[in-house]
């Protein structure tokens, strides 16, 4: 009882401190509204507590996080980021964003599983949350706002600002300025780059679904695998594949050998791979700008070896990752969004249709593997930053997913799963080890009794 009272008193004190500290907060004077981008239109329609569409990008420092300074850093950085400084409102035909003039969300110590649902009406109506634990800063983003690149862009500036507050004089006189590699662009690059299209780009044929005993409701299992980038590159070179192809091949092979027990199946193993469209269309947007391609592995016979699976995955990816095909994929969606008849349908009906279409196409993927890529940091901050992490929430038909990010010569592969069984993860990391890559793993503890 005493403990609970002292906890309450400490929480109250924290809130009062935060209020005092933030009394001078000035929200942006901007007062604009913007339409959701093409991909974002889908997320409010399909997001639920079990399929949150929230991703996490985190950074670990070499020192413990100071909550008050992190809050101050967020208060300073947020008003400049129009992509994040919004709340979502309901229109008759679509949702839309409006500048949020409320105080930035409170920075809290991590006290829940990663990638939990973000309630649009809590958290001062912001669609992201910032938490910390020991020496790690977590940014969790509802995908309606931005994709991983947009998230990294924001987290990097938040971390820079935090470090400048923590270590005054770190960058000379640059107290509040942003890095010159940070983008504040908010254009809808889908609309800007789409071309009239009639072809349906996405596959809807069913893929293998990894099922099994689940973790207790609400729990999400997380396993990080740390490895040296050089070792990964060496392994990739020995198989003549890129990092993306190699990891996708490993994922497909692990599912094939552990879930299908190395046997043929009438359904293919499909690894969905989000492709960042910015380099293909010269975009610097901080909002969503990606499409999903499907790395297909048809399990036509028993006992495939890894090299065979990798060859199939490489062939499948190569045929899809080119500008023309990527353009086709998002142009089909944008042309639907621009269809005058569909636009006049009230959103609650669109929502039902979107849910139905999403559910039928979601089963076309076995898993998703997202690669945020290599994160670069300004030299002045490098000594303070240890690692970056990324992870994505599970979704309909995809109970296990992977996310990759690398920084400073180290690659972190993160599995998120709602399944109790970890044999796919085990096979994945063991194979890496067999290929000469030293792997160290860390979990969030849900798999231990």
């Amino acid at each position: 009882m005493k403990k609970s009272n002292s906890k309450k008193a400490s929480a109250r004190q924290d809130r009062e401190d935060a209020k005092r500290l933030r009394a001078g907060y000035k929200s942006t004077k901007k007062n604009s509204w913007q339409k959701l981008d093409n991909t974002a239109n889908l997320f409010p329609a399909i997001a639920t507590h079990t399929m949150t569409n929230v991703y996490r990008i985190a950074v670990s420092l070499h020192e413990e996080i100071d909550k008050k300074l992190l809050q101050r850093a967020l208060d300073m950085v947020l008003p400049e980021f129009d992509t994040f400084n919004v709340h979502m409102r309901r229109g008759v035909f679509w949702y839309y964003f409006e500048t949020n003039h409320k105080m930035p969300p409170l920075v809290e110590e991590e006290s829940d599983y990663p990638c939990r649902y973000i309630e649009p009406y809590l958290n001062n109506n912001y669609l992201f949350r910032v938490t910390y634990y020991k020496n790690r800063i977590n940014l969790e983003v509802f995908h309606v706002l931005a994709d991983g690149m947009g998230g990294i862009n924001f987290l990097r500036e938040l971390t820079y600002q935090y470090l400048r507050l923590k270590h005054p004089g770190l960058c000379g006189n640059m107290d509040e300025g942003f890095s010159d590699v940070t983008s504040l662009n908010t254009e809808d690059s889908y609309l800007k780059n789409y071309k009239k299209s009639h072809a349906k780009g996405y596959k809807t044929a069913r893929a293998v679904e990894v099922k099994g005993e689940r973790l207790p409701a609400g729990e999400l299992g997380v396993i990080h695998g740390y490895m040296q980038l050089e070792e990964i590159k060496r392994a990739c070179k020995s198989f003549g594949a890129s990092i993306n192809e190699y990891l996708t091949g490993l994922m497909a092979f692990s599912i094939y050998s552990e879930y299908l027990h190395g046997q043929a199946s009438s359904k293919p193993v499909v690894v969905c791979v989000p492709v960042n469209l910015r380099p293909y269309f010269d975009s610097m947007t901080t909002r969503n700008f990606f499409v999903m391609v499907s790395a297909l592995f048809k399990t036509e016979k028993d006992d495939y070896i890894f090299e065979e699976v990798l060859a199939k995955i490489r062939e499948s990816l190569k045929g899809q990752i080119n500008k023309e095909h990527l353009e086709e994929l998002f142009s089909y969606n944008v042309s639907n969004q621009k269809n005058i008849l569909l636009r006049f349908v009230p959103f609650f009906i669109k929502k039902l249709a979107m849910k139905f279409v999403y559910r039928s196409s979601a089963k076309a993927g076995t898993t998703t593997l997202t690669n945020i890529g290599n994160i670069t940091i300004d030299d002045a901050y490098k000594d303070y930053i240890k690692d970056f992490y990324s992870m994505i929430s599970v979704s309909t038909g995809q109970n296990i997913k992977g996310a990759v990010v690398s920084y400073n010569g180290r690659l972190v592969f993160t599995f998120t799963s709602t399944l109790a069984d970890v044999s796919i993860q085990r096979r994945f990391f063991s194979l890496l080890s067999e290929h000469g890559v030293n792997v160290t793993i860390e979990s969030n503890g849900v798999y231990y009794e």
Partner: protein, 221 residues
């Protein structure tokens, strides 16, 4: 650092056995601190309470239907209790649960109340009082709630334009029923329609550009 010889990987967790195969780990036994908080025992009290109440509401209603069936003397009172329990669950799901904004809560509450009065009227033999008195009074109540919210949240008064439109459409529907001779009048149909129309039009006229911009956003296609 601990290592699993079978899986060929190092494990950083505070554990003595392999996460994947359960084998005892070799090494110096040293490990770093867990990088995630231990939150497995955290309970979701509110969610659980709502689920329990929903369950007992369903059980109670089945029990009442059975009693009503064996003691039927012309009144289907279990329909009324069913409607009331449904309204209670709806209130808990939308109002107590902080998942929705207050405007959605007002909308759901008013719609639920309209449905409830119609159900009660139906259960009591459908004399029409729900349409004659119940629904126009609910529309008037909605107008009053909207006015109050606009006064409290005056900086953001334009947010209530959409629910005003809902109140106006409901009152027009009721007015239509009156003009078609389906409900009694003229006081309540005119009063609810007049009040809803007055609030909405005055917001449009006084609000000027702010109201125009809000409607543009809400109705963009």
């Amino acid at each position: 650092m601990n290592r699993c010889k079978r899986c060929g990987i190092d494990i950083n967790d505070e554990t003595s056995r392999c996460l994947f195969c359960g084998m005892v780990l070799s090494g110096d036994g040293s490990s770093t601190e867990n990088i995630y908080p231990d939150i497995r025992n955290k309970t979701r009290m509110l969610k659980r309470t709502i689920n329990i109440i929903t369950y007992f509401a369903v059980v109670l209603e089945i029990f009442l239907i059975v009693i009503n069936y064996y003691n039927y003397y012309g009144i289907k009172w279990s329909v009324i209790t069913g409607g009331a329990l449904f309204y209670l669950v709806l209130t808990l799901q939308y109002t107590v649960n902080k998942r929705n904004g207050h405007i959605v809560k007002i909308f759901v509450q008013m719609l639920g109340a309209m449905l409830l009065v119609v159900i009660i009227d139906f259960a009591l033999g459908f004399s029409g009082w729900s349409f004659n008195i119940g629904i126009p009074l609910i529309i008037l109540l909605m107008d009053a709630v909207i006015l109050m919210c606009m006064l409290i949240n005056y900086k953001n008064w334009q947010s209530y334009l959409l629910i005003q439109i809902f109140a106006l459409i409901s009152s027009i529907f009721h007015m239509g029923l009156y003009l078609a001779g389906c409900v009694n009048g003229p006081l309540l149909p005119w009063l609810s329609f007049g009040m809803s129309a007055f609030i909405f039009t005055s917001c449009l006229v006084i609000g000027g550009k702010k109201a125009e911009s809000e409607l543009k956003k809400r109705f963009y296609i």
